[in-house]
């Protein structure tokens, strides 16, 4: 499985340590909130909201360099419009991997 990385953040910060910290701080703040919102909408079987939450999380996934996982998230987002939850477990694994990674940075 792909591993999250900070390549994009480093590239954007271009050696500016305070910007790097700021960007990481935002990911660490926003990701748990978005993840929680996602699980809530999933529990409520609110497919539209779930799709929106997956869309938001997708951005974090790609920022953390998870290109293959991004494709899964994209597929999941599109499937949700057809009320299809086939990718729910794969998406869950992505969120777990990111949650774990964010504790290490």
């Amino acid at each position: 499985m792909e591993k999250p990385n900070l390549d994009y953040v480093e590239k954007l910060a271009r050696g500016d340590e305070s910007l790097r910290k700021k960007l990481i701080g935002i990911i660490k703040d926003e990701f748990p909130e978005e993840k929680e919102a996602y699980y809530k909408s999933l529990k409520d079987k609110d497919f539209k909201k779930t799709e929106e939450n997956v869309h938001r999380l997708k951005h974090k996934i790609i920022i953390l360099g998870l290109e293959e996982n991004y494709k899964i998230a994209n597929k999941f987002e599109h499937d949700l419009r057809e009320l299809n939850l086939d990718k729910v477990e794969d998406f869950d694994k992505i969120l777990i991997a990111i949650s774990y990674y964010l504790k290490t940075i």
Binding site: L12, H59, R81
Partner: protein, 232 residues
């Protein structure tokens, strides 16, 4: 150049602001997490450029664009290319940036903004060289090849786009789609019908037949239709 950023994600706003800071003449004068705040700001301030997230909950970028009376130039930002394709509907949309946005791509988009001065002629030319366009159906953008369109019919608030393969029902007006269709191929023959002239199989006095459908032709449109036909 004064610009604003409209995006529901803080991360996205910070990234765009960071990229703007790299361009000397760009000044970010506002950042908004929702479209309504941005509309209020635009009502009171003049700005040159908007970075607009197309996919926002409740009131998305497309809804936002539709509210603008004198829109400035817009660069769409999105993590889903299919949403951005609707950009081609509006001539004031200069470019779209796929997230995560890279600096070099961002710089290119700003260059486009500097060069972008659309005129009605330019818009017309654009539409004439396009081979296809996208329609929004149930929040999906579906590509339709222009030449495959046989008939467009207005029914209430919707238009029915009838192609060789399939029919699409789209929330739009006949006038709006007429602007997108090349004059060389399409003709509005009736207040409720636009037809692809090349698909006509039969013509009578005040009707044409396309795809086994009989389409009425207004008396005033008949001379134009006859001009278009390659008569022996």
């Amino acid at each position: 150049m004064n610009c604003i950023i409209v995006d529901d994600e803080q991360m996205a706003r910070v990234i765009i602001k960071t990229l703007c800071d790299e361009i000397k003449f760009l000044k970010v004068v506002g950042e908004f997490s929702n479209a309504m705040q941005a509309i209020k700001f635009l009502n009171a301030n003049e700005i040159d450029l908007i970075f607009l997230d197309i996919h926002m909950p409740d009131f998305n970028g497309v809804d936002f664009i539709k509210t603008l009376k004198n829109p400035p130039k817009i660069i769409l930002t999105t993590s889903d290319s299919q949403f951005a394709i609707e950009a081609f509907e509006y001539d004031f949309i200069v470019d779209y940036l796929l997230k995560p946005i890279e600096l070099t791509r961002f710089q290119k988009a700003i260059l486009k903004v500097q060069k972008h001065e659309p005129t009605s002629n330019e818009v017309k030319l654009d539409s004439e060289i396009k081979n296809d366009f996208y329609v929004n159906i149930d929040r999906r953008l579906i590509k339709i090849h222009l030449e495959s369109i046989c008939i467009v019919e207005a029914k209430g608030d919707y238009i029915h786009i009838k192609t060789e393969e399939k029919n699409y029902v789209v929330h739009s007006t006949l006038t709006r789609i007429e602007e997108k269709l090349p004059n060389s191929l399409f003709l509005r023959v009736h207040r409720s019908f636009i037809i692809n002239v090349k698909k006509i199989v039969d013509i009578e006095d005040n009707t044409v037949v396309i795809k086994r459908e009989v389409i009425p032709v207004s008396r005033s449109k008949r001379p134009e239709l006859m001009k278009r036909l390659d008569l022996l």
